[in-house]
């Protein structure tokens, strides 16, 4: 099995043009497990971890947008400037696997795999992030909502590399919470990101549907309330409305009923945290 380790983005996209069935990896924290389990038998692999451009991130205070290269590991988002700029992303990053996984795993990997349980994805959805893609002859940017199209399915074309994400900062509170049946190192059973920008609440759910779910009805309802004066009954009603927008299933990790309940509780609590209610 050939493994290519390009040192530039253009080299990577050329390689991909030559080997359109190649698998792209950065940390390999998801992919290599699948290989070890014999679930995948890749013929060609292109490793993106030696491409300096994809390791970059910056915070543009003027435009209010944070760019994070696809190969930036979760460990970088957990604390420091990125965490200050995007607290919800930091909270999500801290829930990913173990410290070893967070040192290797990247946001590009989360986007490439596009699992509904991907820990960073509800944050990208709630913060209206956009995903940058590049092929050997073109580049384009998609809103996250158009990028993820199904469970483990995304709009990336076979000849494209995910180069990074642009995430607008919020001028209000943002936070993330995730339920797993263990206090650390666990795959999400249900997760919620809530962000407030220009006094407008946005909420996105993970692990409770085929894609990350933005709760447009619950958002409309809460944004018709006075969010400077959230009392318990409003927060609970918001949670109930969020629950109703989830579309969970039963599997070996949990039940649909529990997941629906859990996202409602998390949404209520995050709204209370965000509004100091």
């Amino acid at each position: 099995m050939p493994v290519f380790i390009p040192s530039s983005l253009s080299e990577a996209t050329s390689l991909l043009a030559e080997h359109p069935t190649a698998h792209l990896i950065t940390g390999g924290t998801d992919f290599m497990v699948e290989v070890n389990f014999n679930h995948r038998h890749p013929e060609t692999v292109i490793s993106l971890r030696k491409i300096p451009d994809m390791q970059l991130w910056n915070i543009d205070k003027a435009s209010g947008v944070v760019f994070i290269g696809a190969s930036v590991p979760y460990a970088t988002m957990e604390q420091g400037e990125l965490a200050d700029a995007l607290p919800a992303l930091a909270e999500a990053a801290r829930t990913v696997g173990s410290p070893q996984i967070r040192a290797a795993g990247s946001i590009g990997g989360n986007l490439g795999t596009c699992s509904p349980a991907g820990d960073s994805l509800p944050v990208l959805a709630a913060l209206n992030a956009s995903v940058h893609l590049r092929s050997s002859d073109a580049e384009r940017t998609l809103p996250f909502s158009e990028f993820m199209i199904g469970p483990k399915r995304n709009a990336k074309k076979p000849d494209e590399v995910i180069t990074g994400v642009s995430i607008p900062m919020t001028n209000g509170w943002q936070g993330y919470a995730k339920v797993g049946v263990r206090n650390a190192m666990v795959i999400s059973v249900a997760s919620v990101c809530l962000a407030i920008h220009d006094k407008t609440v946005r909420v996105a759910l993970g692990s409770v549907g085929p894609t990350i779910i933005r709760c447009s009805d619950a958002e409309s309802w809460i944004n018709s309330q006075d969010i400077t004066a959230i009392d318990d009954s409003v927060a609970v009603e918001f949670g109930n409305r969020v629950s109703q927008e989830s579309r969970p299933i039963d599997d070996h990790r949990s039940t649909a009923e529990y997941r629906r309940h859990a996202v409602g509780v998390l949404a209520t609590r995050l709204l209370q945290r965000g509004t100091n209610a």
């Binding site: 497990v33 070890n36 389990f37 014999n38 909270e91 801290r94 829930t95 936070g175 993330y176 919470a177 995730k178 339920v179 797993g180 049946v181 263990r182 206090n183 650390a184 190192m185 666990v186 795959i187 059973v189 997760s191 070996h252 990790r253 949990s254 039940t255 009923e257 529990y258 309940h261 859990a262 509780v265 998390l266 609590r269 945290r273």
Partner: protein, 753 residues
């Protein structure tokens, strides 16, 4: 005479593990690290179906693959076609029918693991899928045709004791469900088989709990005399019962004998979930009758342990379950009905606690119900019923072991409770941990209790002896034993024993293999008692001869001689000589076989002196619960354990803390999920084990009341820590949320709905 205080690594000292540094630094050679020149790799083809008839097996595709050296099925087994620890009912390879998902059908040997994988994929098996028997109750009621020639009930055992018509004013009952737990040991199954040059025998390095039992079963299936099968212990990562049964031993040896080349086999983690037995899932109904002041008058119980497709140790697990119905409490009258069933679920067998875990979960749930029904505090209700040395148990057996149950409870209660949660706790300390699901105001604290008794050693007439040899040469001691070191620390303890008895510091142990008599299994909390007894006995025999030698040489009656630290002294005189000086140019070797006292089978009414000895323990759990989300953080476990005598404090702490982590796993997360006979979560992604963040503070009190029946006064400490901690945690959750939960592991939905 004067007695010297010592700082040597004798009994009572926290001697360090001889393999400890190597294990921490990654230098220790586990059985999976074994390698031989010209070695082939072996792999196993397994059934994807829980129950199916095999119509045909076509091996031709596998034979055609370059690098494949051997493909074998049931037709290639030269000796007995089946094996088993108690009943030989499990095929080496399935022939006409597969009875569980993952049952071996064929094995291949090839030049590379990837070649093996392709060869397995090229084997075509045609199945006729059958309706699996997955409900143990249908195995009992006879409504499903037999799935095995031995029938669908592996064992039925009743216990009828005292006046079965007795009643009392307070009656509480409950039905308790215990999930299927995995041993989840480190270092998956692995073996390296080296055929003799003339093909007449074989040497096998394997990670196992019992070399001689493996050898016995392997020799039968291989059609070889036992002396032609030599076993050497490979480095073991852990066992917890899962390495008692044969897994890859016969397959690896057979491939090596057929190819005439060394063959190595190693399971991946997913295959490991199918390659070994698990803890029996059980459903237990109990009804306790008690006086108004909370004294137990009668217990009725029905226990169903699902053994899965093959019997393994199910019949012994069942008798442990039924004979521990009463727990560490007096019970004058009892009616117990127990079944071990055969189904198309994964085979179950030995796991730390061995049937007592399940019984304890039920009897401790009942004690809490009794506390509520009588209005008596949950500690007091237990104290009122505790069993004492000399009491007669429901089997008619008189409890002869030291039984400090009251001290276990009182000393646990005396350990400090954790501080109240602060108003701004660290987010990682809350239930939900790194997921940041809760705030302080969502958390409720609960406290719960569990107390247990556990039999030590094998039961029902089984003579599970152990053998050891001690050789004293020029002031150095070498020990020889076949005791499997699976992490429990016998390789630390055995030299401590020799140092104490012989006054020699330089003590080593020889390769652990079958070149000496059996040590029995490293299970049932038995090796300190049994192999410790054997080493103790062998060292004492050597010391006797050393004293005879010294006595004759120096004109002192050998009976007056004793060991003081590293000297031989006249215990009633002034003579003193260092052991080193006394045994220069001397070589003494003695072998000792230790047997515990005999036990008996149970009769049809469950009566008989079936157990050797018992150990006791109490656990108090403090948990924080997020009721709305159903998430739990175990804050603290306090425990006082009856250990007899502490031979290595650090080792005992390790056993207690590890056992508590394993019991915590069963309480709140560890469960193999089986649906329609199929395992749904055979990986550490979805079979969740506690992490460091899930592990509680552990406070320990070791109760030392040396047991006169134990060779060194010490009771086995391996199993007790993991038994009553599970019901204690579940009781604490019930206490926090104020509603009944009668199953474990407790899932979020069990708490919040």
């Amino acid at each position: 005479m004067t007695i010297t205080k010592t700082h040597r690594d004798v009994l009572g000292a926290s001697a360090l593990r001889p393999d400890g540094v190597a294990k921490v630094q990654g230098d220790f050679s586990f059985s999976s690290d074994l390698h031989a020149e010209n070695m082939l790799w072996g792999a196993t083809l397994r059934s994807p179906h829980p129950y199916a008839r095999i119509i045909s097996i076509d091996l031709s595709g596998a034979w055609k693959i370059a690098g494949v050296e051997c493909v074998i099925t049931a037709d290639d087994v030269p000796g007995q076609l089946t094996y088993g620890l108690i009943s030989e009912d499990q095929p080496v390879f399935a022939k006409d029918v597969v009875r569980y998902m993952g049952e071996p059908i064929a094995a291949v040997a090839a030049d590379h693991p990837e070649t093996c994988r392709r060869a397995l994929a090229a084997i075509k098996v045609e199945y006729e899928i059958l309706e699996p028997l997955t409900d143990p109750e249908r195995a009992i009621d006879g409504s499903h045709p037999d799935i095995h020639p031995d029938g669908n009930i592996i064992r039925h055992q009743r216990i009828v004791s005292g006046d079965i018509t007795a009643t009392a004013p307070i009656v509480v009952e409950g039905t308790y469900d215990i999930g299927m737990q995995d041993q989840a040991f480190l270092g998956t199954e692995s073996a390296l088989a080296l055929p003799d040059h003339d093909g007449s025998g074989i040497e096998v390095f394997v990670a196992t709990q019992w070399l001689h039992e493996d050898r016995k079963q392997m020799a039968k299936c291989l059609g070889l005399p036992e002396e032609k099968v030599r076993l050497v212990l490979g480095g073991v990562g852990g066992a917890f019962g899962a390495r008692e049964d044969i897994s890859l031993q016969v397959h690896t040896a057979l491939l090596a004998l057929r190819t005439g080349r060394p063959v190595k086999m190693q399971y991946g983690r997913e295959e490991s979930f199918f390659g070994h037995v698990h803890r029996h899932p059980a459903q237990i109904w109990m009804r306790h009758h008690a006086t108004e002041d909370g004294r137990i008058v009668k217990i009725e119980a029905r226990m169903v342990f699902d053994g899965g497709a093959y019997s393994s140790t199910s019949s012994a697990v069942l008798i442990n379950g039924v004979t521990h119905t009463q727990g560490p409490y007096q019970c004058p009258n009892a009616v117990v009905d127990g079944y071990a069933t055969r189904t198309n679920n994964p085979p179950c067998g030995a796991m730390r606690g061995f049937g007592v875990v399940q019984a304890c979960f039920a009897h401790e749930g009942q004690m809490d119900k009794l506390a509520v029904a009588t209005g008596i505090d949950e500690v007091e209700i237990r104290l009122r019923n505790i069993i004492h040395t000399g009491d007669t148990m429901i089997t008619g057996q008189v409890l002869e072991s030291v039984a400090p149950v009251e001290r276990c409870i009182r000393e646990t209660a005396a350990l400090p409770l954790p501080a109240e949660m602060s108003s701004h706790p660290h987010e990682l300390d809350l239930p939900g941990g790194s997921g940041r699901t809760a705030d302080r105001r969502h958390i409720v604290r609960g406290i719960g209790w569990g107390v247990s008794m556990k039999n030590l050693m094998y039961s029902e007439g089984f003579d599970d002896y152990s053998t050891a040899r001690c050789t004293l040469t020029n002031g150095k001691v070498e020990l020889k034993f076949a005791t499997s070191e699976v992490g429990q620390g016998f390789v630390t303890l055995a030299p401590q024993i020799a140092r104490s008895i012989l006054g020699v510091d330089d003590v080593t142990y020889d390769t652990i293999d079958t070149q000496i008599g059996s040590a029995g299994s490293t299970s049932a909390s038995r090796q300190t008692w049994m192999s410790g007894g054997a080493v103790d006995g062998a060292c004492r025999l050597v010391r006797e001869r050393l004293f005879e030698h010294v006595g004759a040489l120096h004109g002192v009656d050998p009976l007056r001689l004793g060991i003081d630290d590293t000297d031989i002294i006249d215990t009633i005189g002034d003579f003193r000589i260092s052991v080193q000086e006394a045994c220069a140019d001397l070589s003494i070797s003695e072998t000792f076989e230790y047997h515990h006292r005999p036990t008996e089978d149970l009769d049809e009414n469950g009566q008989g002196n079936c157990h050797v000895a018992f150990a006791f323990v109490a656990h108090r759990a403090v948990v924080d619960v997020d009721i709305e989300l159903g998430l739990v953080k175990v804050v603290q476990i306090a425990t006082a354990q009856d250990v007899g005598r502490v031979l290595n404090p650090m080792s005992v702490v390790g056993q207690i803390e590890g056992g508590i982590a394993q019991g915590l796993g069963l309480a709140v997360m560890e469960e193999i999920i089986v649906k329609d006979g199929k395992v749904r979560n055979p990986s550490f992604t979805d079979y969740l084990l506690p992490t460091a963040l899930d592990a509680p503070q552990v406070l320990i009190s070791m109760i030392e009341e040396p047991d006169p029946q134990a060779p060194m006064g010490a009771k086995g400490v391996g199993e007790a820590p993991c038994i009553s901690v599970t019901p204690a945690i579940v009781a604490a959750i019930r206490n926090a949320i104020g509603k009944p939960i009668d199953r474990c592991p407790v899932r979020p939905q069990d708490i919040c709905f």
